[in-house]
Amino acid sequence: MEDNRRDFLKTAGAAALAFPALIRAEQATNAIKVGLVGCGGRGTGAAAQAMKADDFAELTAVADISQERIDTCLDQLLKTSGQKVKVEAKNIFLGLDAYQKVIDSGVDVVILATPPGFRPAHLRACIEAGKHVFCEKPIAVDAFGVRDVLETAKLAKAKNLNLVSGFCWRYSNYIVATFDQIKAGAIGDIVAYYATYYTSPVKPMPPASARPAGMSDVQWQIANWYNFQWLCADSLVEQAVHSADKIAWSQGDKPPLSCTAVGGRQIPAEGGNIFDHFEVNYLYPNGVRAFLGSRQIEGCWNENADYIMGTKGVCTIGRSPMPKITGQTEWTYTGTKYDMYQYEHDMLFQAIRKGQTINNGERMATSTLLAMMGRMAAYTGREITWDMALNSQERIFPEKLDWNGSLPVPPLPRPGITKFL
């Protein structure tokens, strides 16, 4: 199996976590050229972190569908990263095929930070072209995409390319320390895992009247990507996937047997087609259960927490600033927390400099599928097994996409009526 990030971190030890050993100027032989695909807030942040991770990392190419977003992004990066921003006008690419131009511009590393629907194709193109990748979560919107990424992850391994995923908690020192406690038996055997991801709406759909005249369906939907299954994979898979990833982590990244789920939409969809609440019940071997609740509705109880229940105690993450274990073992994380977003890039660039390989590819695909099977169960009202999910023939991301084209929005799923494909 692929490099297990957590074990890697564990061996690296606390000191290394707090002060990642960066490669400094005297050891560098040449620049590492970075290309950014997706210039929104997250992509801009990731680019800044990449440039900070290595003395000779520089941004040389960018892609987006919006010139305005590129302008804003570069303005911002000039302030944070200064001379390391070396994007010539010829390396600013606009449009749905801009990612390929970034790849072809001679970069060493590509940051993939577009809406998730595009990710499988972008990732494949990067790996086929021999690029190292930082790949934001989630990695696909349907099982076709998941299977594609699983293949691409194998290809990356064969080519010794680094593939670091944006499942950032795996790079958080205090969450790593917490899972180390659990792995060492601090709560005994895990019997149940309850995770919450209750927030406000992330990027609510504007009214149809806000759509400028002449804007195509595809353009309008990408501009409001969070509200469409084909772009964001739905709220459970886009946001609460972080919780799914921690559930997977607690189970050694082994898949569940099956799941059932409820879900629906309470607030008007305004032309979008994602649910605003889910509650998923996973069944793992030996009767272990994991429950994942997600909601994006204003004015409700908000909580983002994990309650991991074992035979000898309970671990709680997120109900206080520091994770806690109560029961036979009493434990609280007391160290400092460092920036997990920065650490992801520190590790990526360090691996590149040292000729090592980090490959989070398989794990990022299975964690995405774990959330996705919950979505399948909620949409259809059926019990979904892991194999059903993995082999699903439901195509959510369009096979052909025309920037100026029409794209009818499938209606909101209806449990009991919507078919599993």
Binding site: T44, G45, T199, S200, A305, R319
Partner: protein, 394 residues
């Protein structure tokens, strides 16, 4: 022109960008070429975007100049010759654009000044006293600081009278500011929706609001002023210390009777007002959450600060002063004199760039309380209290 009344740092050169160029671009170009709308892919909100149609030094090669000179732009009436010439000369002189200036932000600042002016008039016409949840802090003199490090030198300071919140601002008070719908045209700018649950599971009702930037606390004060017709703002560092000491030397002897800190907080903040108040009736000045002040942190500020009502106006986003220590701190940090400077690491969890101007997600022991000075300041002073000018990290 209204816009021209708001002056940015004046650029060198014969044509002044702020008075001659910005108003033309703002009034005549931004409506179709602003952020969010890019007529023909052209935009004039920031330097990076504007320079796509400008060749510095060469108006005859600049689409901007050519299109207004021919009258093709703006649609409708041709710009007056004086404006066209000003643009030409400005481009010829190198098309200097003030660093970091966004025309939209500049326009927002004009609107904000007008809002504050109306608010000032409303407050000035209101004779009501502040609510009973505020304690009257008398005018007086005290010795500020100590002989320790950045608290030195101990020096005499005069403070004018003010009212101060007896309690730290709670989520019950702060959340309506975060979540309520806009009340109309006079809307104060309000926080964006947080990505994470901002109480971190520590409790909402009766508990102190935390993890907001100083900018957010300033805007809360402005919002509350608008709602109540009273003038509220953060305390200065000197006002805060004066109120914390409450006529005493410094920290109370039985700290655990007055404060929540690492030894008794149970790893989280607690409901406000449960411990004993200080001599002036203020609860939780020490501990529970540390509290924002208006001042820029400078270790040597006391060496040259004015003797009456000092305030170190912020010039950089970091560090700004927070006071009083929190539930996370050891007793040694819970003194009336201890000073803490804010740090970029307080926003580490924010994965986006630019980082939020509203949340210090990693400062989970940081809150605030407000004061209401007895003497109502001018509109310009109010503007400066509520707009620190350094809300953006970079």
């Amino acid at each position: 022109m209204r816009y021209a009344a708001f002056l940015w740092a004046v650029a060198a050169g014969a044509v002044d960008f702020n008075t001659a160029i910005a108003p033309v671009l703002t009034e005549s170009c931004l409506p179709c070429h602003g952020s969010g709308k890019a007529g023909g892919g052209v935009r004039y909100s920031t330097a990076a975007s504007a320079m796509r149609t400008i060749v510095a030094g060469a108006p005859e090669k600049s689409t901007l100049y050519l299109s207004i000179e021919s009258g093709a732009m703006p649609p409708g009436e041709k710009l007056p010759k004086a404006q066209v010439d000003a643009i030409r000369d400005w481009i010829k002189e190198g098309a200097k654009w003030p660093a970091g200036l966004s025309l939209e932000q500049a326009r927002a600042a004009v609107n904000e000044r007008e809002l504050v002016k109306r608010l000032h008039d409303k407050v000035a016409a209101n004779s009501a006293l502040p609510p009973a949840t505020m304690a009257k802090i008398p005018e007086g003199d005290f010795v500020m600081g100590s002989n320790k490090k950045d608290e030195a030198p101990a020096h005499k300071v005069h403070i004018d009278a003010f009212y101060m919140d007896k309690y730290e601002v709670t989520w019950d008070q702060y959340r309506p500011f975060m979540f309520a719908k806009d009340e109309g045209v006079d809307a104060v700018s309000r926080p964006t929706r947080p990505y994470v649950e901002m109480s971190f599971g520590m409790g909402i009702e009766g508990f102190p609001a935390i993890s907001m930037t100083q900018h957010a606390a300033n805007k809360y004060a402005e919002w509350l002023s608008q709602k109540t017709g009273q003038f509220y703002r953060l305390p200065t560092e000197a006002e805060w210390e004066y109120a914390c000491r409450a006529g005493t030397d410094d920290t109370p002897k039985d700290l655990e009777k007055y404060a929540w800190f690492a030894a008794n907080s149970g790893g989280k903040y607690q409901k406000v007002g449960q411990k004993l108040p200080n001599a002036w009736g203020l609860y939780d000045m020490l501990g529970n959450v540390m509290e924002w002040t208006l001042d820029q942190y400078a270790a040597d500020y006391y060496a040259h600060s004015p003797a009456a009502n000092p305030r170190n106006q912020a010039k950089t986003p970091y560090p700004l002063v927070a006071r009083g220590g929190s539930w996370q701190d050891g007793a040694e940090k819970l003194t009336c004199t201890a000073r803490v400077g804010s740090d970029p690491s307080w926003k580490e969890q924010d994965p986006q760039l630019p980082k939020s101007i509203w949340y210090e997600t990693d400062a989970q022991g940081l809150g605030f309380r407000l004061v209401r000075p007895v003497k109502i300041p001018s509109a310009e002073e109010m503007y400066k209290y509520w707009n620190n000018g350094v809300e953006r990290d970079n």
